[in-house]
Symmetry: C2
Subunit: 355 residues, 2 copies
DNA sequence: TTGAAAGCGTTACCAG
DNA sequence: CTGGTAACGCTTTCAA
């Protein structure tokens, strides 16, 4: 429908300068006479030239200006989690001004990550595992072979991966201590998915050995470090409904055996626990204390203020962005673990028996 | 830190075949002897070759396999809107299996869209204006010059744009009729931002002439078509808090002058209106009826069910994805307007005076 | 079925 | 400051 776009060569010809000179104009070089520059730009305008072709530029400069974000789930699930959104926001905040774009690499129902076929067609300077476990991921193997450096948010420690994480264990331990100090002895955990296979229900040792995510594992360990072994129920997704479902399984029993406190591994799950409590007629924190993790803004919980461990999610994203930028420049940044902070809200109180 | 990646030429040399033959192997051609294929693949494995370089491939094939998603705001704001997320989900659902990736092109605080500098470095086969007005957008001009075809979701009708939209006007009219039939005469509108400049407050004629978004304009017209001119308050963002804020301005007055119904232009804003009503002690629908638009899933509104116009958001995304795919192949798909459906919930009832 | 050669549009280098 | 020329890594005719 349209004839071929003009090339830089055409512009140079029209301006009566060499191709290399015209290129200099677009690379913003100082060493080109103002008159020449104007002539080139004028010719470009006349021809409707839109600037150098990014693909050709990438081929020469060995840099595509694109970082992949491996998301693991379909967007409609992954982005329901404010943590994921804030994380990507932080990444783009850093990468955008550097002229680096973020390419979404979502999984689908079957796969917790992008297909290799999809990955292999895309020019990546680096990849960030944003909301996706990466143990035995075929996509990771492919990236390695391609020589694409990888930033793993909440990922495992590995030689060829840059880790950006938070103090999951310490944060969870602080929450557990808070509950212990309030006199809670029957505490249960509502866990985020250990891996993306749709499993929900009580977590036994076998299931636990399959855990794919650093944050899930560490948050569990943090609680156990303080309270010893506690029963845990896994949610099939990090979502309010799933938290509610898991909490019902935990709470729908006589007061004598019911937990007096629930540690949800995320604020989203905690919101579900609060809904379950309300549905079962349990007062919070009178009958039940609830804590979350993340410190995300859930305005519709008001007037309740969730007791939680606040993580610097956006800063984590920025750090991941900076790490990716460093890798692109050939540097190898250090692993980074950011602190979390205990925030005591209105959803925790003394254990019922202790009142 | 690492020696240069092996190229296809190196693989071919090692396998003792010509470069072009090796290329054939990777393009999945049938016309290569099984033995030869194995030899090439073997050599590739030995060399740790990860497949053809996508950039070089793109240069030859004149196709990058990347579609840009123009988002307009920072992700943390844009993705708070479930409509935006579902839209992108629908797009990736179609594009992913086609081997086409989605690149995020968010704006920042200052700009309602990506900078031209950013845009010009990225290889795009097409762009989708997902959640972003595009009247007098410099980025759009740049895309035109580059010859990048554009799909405009809820965008204006234009010759060089493919429009994918919904029946905004008819949907709003249906909602207005519903309210009119319930006896409401004092109706007010809480509008989504007319453009992204942080403005909030009453909408006058001057402000209204600045409207950037097709859906905002059409939804306003739909209401007026049924009820005539109605007062409208603009929210600074499509978010719950903003809806609440706008509603307070509208509702915090004596019952005699207070609207008996509020038409929010989105479910998110409607949720805010419901919160404001609760805060002001107004019963819904006893004292006030509230309608939204979109039909998004806001589980925390339960047990209330919002009266709203349900749009096929994900299908709209899929349609946008299909349109982009068609444009990449050089076809020019028709504009598409999808239907919306009135859903009567529990937030609307007879006007107080009419009871 | 395989091989040779011609680009794709640009940048980087080296002369002048 | 400007001009020539050689890559960048691959796909795609066209012959053999």
């Amino acid at each position: 429908m349209s004839r071929p776009r003009p090339t830089l060569a055409a512009v140079a010809a029209r301006a009566g300068v060499a191709l290399s000179t015209a290129s200099l104009v677009y690379s913003g070089s100082e060493r080109v006479a103002p008159g020449t520059r104007e002539r080139v730009l004028g010719a470009a305008a006349e021809l409707g030239y839109g600037g150098p072709d990014p693909v050709a530029r990438s081929l020469r400069s060995r840099r595509s200006g694109i970082v992949g974000a491996v998301v693991g789930e379909r967007l409609m699930y992954a982005f329901r989690d404010p943590v994921a959104v804030l994380l990507l926001d932080g990444i783009t905040e850093v990468l955008g001004p550097l002229g680096v774009g973020l390419l979404l690499l979502p999984g689908d129902r079957e796969r917790s990550g992008p297909s290799v076929a999809q990955l292999s067609r895309v020019p990546l300077d680096a990849a960030v595992y944003a909301t996706c476990g990466l143990e035995d991921d075929p996509a990771l193997e492919h990236l390695r072979r391609r020589g694409v450096p990888v930033v793993a948010v909440e990922g495992p420690v590995a030689d060829d991966l840059v880790l950006v994480g938070i103090e999951d264990r310490a944060g969870s331990a602080a929450l557990a201590e808070h509950l212990r100090d309030l006199g809670h002895r029957r505490v249960a955990v509502v866990a985020m998915p250990l891996r993306l296979d749709g499993t929900r229900g009580p977590v036994d040792a076998a299931r636990r050995s399959l855990v794919h995510y650093r944050d899930v594992r560490e948050r569990l360990l943090g609680v156990e470090q303080v309270l010893g072994s506690v029963p845990a129920v896994e949610a099939a997704a990090n979502a309010v409904e799933e938290g509610e479902r898991a909490a019902r399984a935990l709470l729908d029993r006589p007061a004598a055996t019911r937990p007096t406190a629930v540690v949800a591994q995320s604020d989203l799950l905690a919101a579900g626990v609060l809904r379950a409590a309300a549905a079962l007629g349990l007062a919070v924190p009178g009958d039940l204390s609830v804590v979350g993790f993340d410190g995300v803004d859930l305005p519709w919980l008001a007037p309740a203020v969730l007791t939680t461990a606040v993580q610097p999610t956006q800063e984590k994203g920025r750090a991941a962005g900076r790490a990716a930028a460093a890798l692109i420049e050939g540097r190898r940044p250090d692993d980074l673990v950011l602190p979390v902070e205990l925030r005591v809200g209105t959803t925790t109180g003394p254990a019922p028996a202790a009142r």
